[in-house]
Symmetry: C2
Amino acid sequence: MAAKRGGARSNRSQRPGQPPRPAGEPPLSRQRIVATAVELLDAQGIDGLTMRRLADRLGSGVMSLYWHVDSKEDVFDLALDAVLEYRGSPQEPQSEDWRGEIVHILEDWRASMLSHSWSASLLPRRALGPNILSRLELLSKALSRAGVADADINAAIWSLWNYVMGATITRASFDLSDDDRAAAQQRLTHLSERYATIERSRLLLDDDWDGAFRKGLGFLLDGLAPG
Amino acid sequence: MAAKRGGARSNRSQRPGQPPRPAGEPPLSRQRIVATAVELLDAQGIDGLTMRRLADRLGSGVMSLYWHVDSKEDVFDLALDAVLEYRGSPQEPQSEDWRGEIVHILEDWRASMLSHSWSASLLPRRALGPNILSRLELLSKALSRAGVADADINAAIWSLWNYVMGATITRASFDLSDDDRAAAQQRLTHLSERYATIERSRLLLDDDWDGAFRKGLGFLLDGLAPG
DNA sequence: ACCTGAACACCGTTCAAGT
DNA sequence: ACCTGAACACCGTTCAAGT
């Protein structure tokens, strides 16, 4: 068994086309681990991230990771927050267009998550890193400036958060399965007496995700700050 | 190694206080598997569901499950949809209060998911089972009756879906970690120049989840069908 | 301070076989 | 038609040890 294990490991570290890491390999660090985890997640999805594979990519032993990181769970948290760094100009033009500003903040948030589609499925499990908090802060300020009453601010923030997270998660999960969607709509047609209404409106085939996101956000903002 | 395995198995099937299943054990079935999976998920959470543990609870060998079920993924799908069965009276009183009706549908949806908190974290990965579709159908009909224009119906459905799913996922994940939330708010205070606004509004300590849900839903419905 | 390999206690699923 | 055990190819993490 030990021999078999050994064989498997050497297969892994001699991946075809991947020469052994040069001796000048930079030392392990929390940062390098997180960056590589994001790469791996982008390439292989959520189930593709394995402490063993991560270590391989970094050219180190598995257990070396645990010096810099508490657990796999920790890696997930760090990767999620890393991907949510806000890259907008810190000094916004302070326009009068508060509504455009809020829409921009939320569309950017959604876009950041959609460009790393695993991030949506990571959300339900985890905590609020500094980059998420920064975005919430930004949003809160914009809502204040827009004149939302103090008593309504938290509810407004959570409403928008809920909407964005729901939309992003939905979009990311449906994206994986265009065929599934077609098949589902097919099933609907087949059972059309049970699902007559959503069959007729072609709910599952509508694929203008960006448009639907904007439209729904519009409804919500109308409700939040009428006039 | 074979011996060790055997030992582990017999430990498992002789859990303390759990007599061996009587010979009259009902036969395995898809239904029984799903029901037991839900039990197990309720008791142990998402990481607690294991094909091996599931088989143990059912008094069968692991591989017997695979006759009735395609994969673990399949079990997740079935468990999620099982928990979303709609238990309302099929013949609603058809009230004039369309808004109350919609609120009821969505609060019931949220409540169903929150009473099986693992269901929220399952959402991002998966498909639309019959019970989910039924709820969408119900919602669609209510929106029609409320006078939402046909052209807006799909956007309205997805907006409400996004909101409910986002709210449920957020609530379920924050529920696990009251301490984390307090710690996070603590951190905020400590770095208060960066997060001044959300620190002041005590965003992370606000725990009237039900109230926030209803309030935000109100905003959204105001936007969806003003007047 | 930082990195390591061996070992432990698990996983999901394939396969060939049993009834 | 339905159920099974052995085996395969993995996991995350503990631990004692190395530099």
